[in-house]
């Protein structure tokens, strides 16, 4: 990243949101376990909409079906990882790579999850997550996963999305609900504390 790009990124962290940000610039892990393609809507203190299209590697040896456990992981990456990383960067006035030396982003708990449909190779899905708790580097999110109608321009569709619509999951009935997720919880743990867990 050039100095000019870093300056632009600092401005986004301070004043903007994740729409238009390449997930690889925010998430410290990847690329094969990165389960986000694009951020489509983001309100830093409220929630997020992000999409992913399962790749061949994601459905290999699994009947062409994207696993439920990976849906939970994709939702977590979109919500408690992306949203919390963004807010922590804003709090510390830094970019994500500066957090790498201090914290381990840990997925620490999930509540009820129900699967109501499935996803296969060729599908695109969105994770819609709302932040229910954020304090002391711990974030909790609830939300839904939906299969996206074929051919829909998600950036355009969510360009006028609002916090009110987020809380009501107010989207077209053409989206097919695949999963409901509750109390997805993550925490940025100090590296020295994380190492004591071993």
């Amino acid at each position: 990243m050039t100095e000019e790009e870093r300056a632009h990124y600092f401005d986004i962290i301070a004043n903007g949101n994740l729409v238009g940000i390449e997930p690889s610039n925010l998430l410290l892990h990847g690329p094969t376990k990165r389960l986000i393609d694009t951020y489509h809507w983001h309100s830093p203190n409220k929630g997020i909409v992000a999409s992913y299209s399962p790749k061949e590697r994601d459905v290999e040896d699994h009947f062409g079906i994207f696993r439920g456990v990976d849906q939970v992981e994709a939702f977590a990456q979109a919500t408690i990882v992306s949203c919390a990383t963004f807010l922590q960067c804003r709090k510390e006035n830094c970019l994500p790579d500066a957090l790498r030396d201090k914290f381990v982003p840990a997925f620490i708990s999930i509540g009820n999850v129900s699967f109501q449909n499935y996803l296969e190779l060729g599908d695109t899905f969105i994770s819609i997550g709302n932040i229910t708790f954020w304090k002391w580097r711990q974030m909790v999110c609830d939300g839904h996963i939906y299969r996206v109608p074929k051919g829909l321009d998600l950036d355009d569709y969510f360009s006028d999305f609002t916090e009110e619509r987020l809380l009501k999951y107010d989207i077209s009935s053409d989206f097919v609900k695949v999963a409901e997720l509750h109390d997805i919880t993550g925490r940025a743990i100090l590296i020295e504390h994380f190492n004591k867990l071993a």
Binding site: I108, S109, F133, K135, W136, R137, Q138, T185, R187, L190, H193
Partner: protein, 93 residues
């Protein structure tokens, strides 16, 4: 200087908070002492400690910093020590 009455009052307030925590079996609150450990004696999920801390903030009208939570131990006395420390910090501001 800390005194026994203050610690007793805080323990009583803390017990009020703990009675509102869904994941804590009320039966485990019988006979709680400062040496009781949330994780091993009360089987409290570690993620719940954050929720307890948030309720403690409200109950005692104090505000924890990230570092306070990072340093907080898992025994009742650790939480009482932290509450006293944060109250004193607030009073000195």
């Amino acid at each position: 200087m800390e005194n026994a009455n203050e610690r007793k009052e805080i323990l009583d307030g803390l017990l009020e908070v703990l009675r509102t925590v869904r994941t804590i079996d009320p039966a485990r609150l019988e006979g709680v002492t400062e040496e009781t450990d949330f994780l091993t004696d009360m089987n409290t999920p570690s993620t719940e400690l954050i929720n307890i801390a948030a309720k403690v903030e409200q109950k005692f009208d104090i505000e924890f910093e990230d570092e306070d939570i990072d340093r907080m131990g898992s025994k009742v006395k650790d939480v009482i020590d932290l509450i006293i420390m944060v109250k004193e910090r607030g009073a000195n501001k």
